[in-house]
């Protein structure tokens, strides 16, 4: 049986990592930088045991790589290490890949254990899905946000908690400063309803009408890449697409979005897609369940009024 390890630099990602781990095997160990409470939480979420890595504010997350590598090697093979596909998670994964001589795949959307670990992930800007087999005795995978549904918590579950010794990294990168980013609390990957806006929007101020419609639908606001990265009208966390968020909403309403493949890869996981675009030849209508050819400046306020009735 393969030994499964999970690690995340964000506490909020453990539940889905543990769900992914449970789909692979039963010998699951959570590596956590944190407290006994965090350990108990992980046990209730599906970890069989926990290895607590000593917290120290002067350390970078990547400084834990030699420590993680030590525990994973001692655990024996075959082994699978599941890490959240965050920015730091990917850095940890690649470094572990070299230290443990393990194959690494990022942004994994599905996985299966057999003769090796078979994983899928998007390639070619989302035009295609790659299926890879990791054949090395240790596989290191970063899991795409929202790819797995967390399991129900069970507070009665217990397991062993080991306090790990810190293994010094070969060199330390000095952290000069650490500042909070203008926090975006939105996690679009988990939103049930999304109203998304694209280039059809002419000015940032016009986001008000989009927000109003979203609020009438109790939905989150999303966008295509130009709105987040070209115009900077919305946070990057709201950008739906291949290099942004891949959503799994029940309802996805695309406003003034042409529907290029790079966007649709992020939106296609939605159950029902609605689209409004003034160009009847826009590719979005090929990917929509319900479409309306029209001007969002006329349609959006009208929709809001009808929904509020």
């Amino acid at each position: 049986m393969a030994k499964i390890w999970v690690f995340s630099d964000m506490a909020s990602r453990y539940p889905e990592l543990l769900a992914a781990a449970a789909s692979l095997g039963s010998e699951i160990n959570a590596l956590i930088v944190g407290s006994d409470e965090a350990a108990a939480k992980a046990l209730s979420q599906g970890a069989g045991s926990v290895t607590l890595l000593p917290a120290d504010d002067s350390r970078m997350v990547e400084d834990y790589v030699p420590t993680i590598a030590k525990y994973v090697s001692e655990g024996g093979t075959p082994a699978v290490v599941l890490i959240s596909a965050t920015r730091r998670g990917k850095a940890v994964a690649a470094k572990l890949g070299v230290v443990l001589n393990a194959g690494v795949v990022n942004e994994v959307t599905s996985l299966k254990l057999g003769d090796g670990v078979v994983v899928t992930h998007a390639v070619l800007g989302g035009l295609a899905r790659g299926t890879d087999k990791v054949t090395s005795p240790v596989a290191v995978l970063t899991m795409a946000n929202g790819a797995f549904e967390p399991l129900p918590e069970d507070a009665s579950k217990t397991g062993s908690v080991t306090k790990a010794d810190f293994v010094e990294p070969p060199f330390r990168i000095k952290r000069i400063e650490r500042r909070a980013k203008q926090a975006s609390n939105v996690d679009l990957a988990k939103a049930r309803r999304i109203v998304s806006v694209g280039r059809g929007l002419k000015a940032q101020a016009d986001l008000a009408m989009v927000r109003e419609l979203a609020s009438a639908l109790d939905a989150e606001v999303g966008c295509s890449r130009p709105i987040a990265e070209g115009e900077n009208w919305l946070e990057r966390e709201r950008y739906v697409g291949i290099t942004g968020v891949q959503v799994k909403a029940d309802v996805y309403l695309a406003l003034g979005i042409s529907g290029q493949i790079q966007h649709m890869v992020g939106a296609n996981g939605s159950k029902t897609i609605f689209a409004v675009n003034k160009d009847k030849n826009a590719p979005i209508f090929q990917s929509a369940d319900y479409g309306l050819v029209g001007d969002i400046y006329k349609v959006v306020p009208a929709m809001t009024a009808l929904l509020k009735k």
């Binding site: 970078m60 965050t86 920015r87 730091r88 990917k90 850095a91 994964a93 470094k95 890949g97 070299v98 194959g103 690494v104 795949v105 990022n106 942004e107 390639v123 070619l124 800007g125 035009l127 295609a128 899905r129 790659g130 299926t131 890879d132 087999k133 990791v134 054949t135 070969p170 060199f171 990168i173 000069i176 400063e177 650490r178 500042r179 909070a180 980013k181 926090a183 309803r193 990265e229 291949i242 290099t243 890869v265 029902t272 897609i273 609605f274 409004v276 009847k280 209508f285 990917s287 929509a288 369940d289 319900y290 479409g291 309306l292 029209g294 001007d295 349609v299 009208a302 929709m303 929904l307």
Partner: protein, 256 residues
């Protein structure tokens, strides 16, 4: 400062044809520099401009696409002083680990470096790990997601934009830095730099020249397939009349 900027040549996505069995035909696809690598090249050129006496070498490893003279000229017109290309059939569709190993061997043969710059991922695989693997294989510090880069005395100061915070780090050199697409806006080559590019030196090596032999790959590709089209209803109403909007909202209401 001795700077190496890594880049990859990738197929133009727009030219890729999806076959009826969902496999992809890349044969007719033109070659271009992976978009994210343009930011790495620009960052390398800007870093060199800030420190007199710097040299920028562009480096790529891959298959036949690297023989493309237009692409070679393209990269050299963007600032690098010289180009090193490792061309080998075994690198034709190399995965990250093999790519990083070839880059590491090539950097060593070029004769050292202070900073190696990589993009955030390639336009084709977007594996987002080659730069990180390269730094680890070379046993030097490596930082990803760098959105600002400033040279210091034997160090570089980088800003790293993460999910919920920004980290400012002092990285001792030599080091590998992977930059984001937000770090700069790549300049469009001028006629002058395009003409000058043709006169810059290009060195080609094979894997044998570097003394590397492909070992057992830790990851193998099983398939690359276009996604199955979800069966969408495609109920499209033409025109934004009040009745159409009402019908559209009614469909939306039923789905909620």
């Amino acid at each position: 400062m001795n700077i190496v900027t890594c880049f990859k040549l990738v197929p133009e996505e727009q030219d890729i044809v999806v076959n009826s069995d969902r496999t992809l035909n890349l044969e007719k696809a033109n070659t271009k520099i992976s978009l994210y690598d343009l930011n790495a090249v620009e960052a390398g050129t800007e870093l060199a401009a800030a420190i007199p006496g710097s040299k920028v070498n562009a480096l790529s490893v891959g298959g036949k696409r690297l023989e493309n003279t237009k692409a070679r000229k393209d990269i050299l017109s963007r600032g690098p002083d010289a180009l090193y290309a490792v061309i080998d059939p075994s690198l034709e569709s190399a995965l990250p680990r093999e790519t990083a190993a070839a880059l590491a061997a090539a950097v060593t043969k070029i004769g050292g470096f202070d900073v190696i710059l990589c993009g955030e991922g390639s336009g084709d695989l977007y594996a987002q790990q080659v730069g990180l693997l390269l730094g680890s294989l070379l046993s030097v510090p490596v930082v990803n997601d760098v959105s600002k880069l400033t040279a210091g005395e034997g160090t570089v100061t980088v800003e790293r934009t993460l999910e919920t915070e920004v980290e400012v780090l002092s990285v001792p050199l030599p080091a590998v830095i992977c930059v984001t697409s937000d770090i700069n806006t790549p300049k469009i080559p001028s006629m002058k730099t395009i003409l000058a590019a043709g006169k810059k030196p290009v060195t080609s090596w094979s894997c044998a020249d570097l003394g590397i032999t492909p070992g057992a790959a830790p990851v193998v590709v099983q398939s690359v397939l276009a996604p199955e089209q979800a069966d969408r209803k495609k109920v499209i109403l033409e025109g934004d009349s009040d009745s159409n909007v009402a019908a559209f909202v009614e469909s939306l209401r039923k789905t909620l």
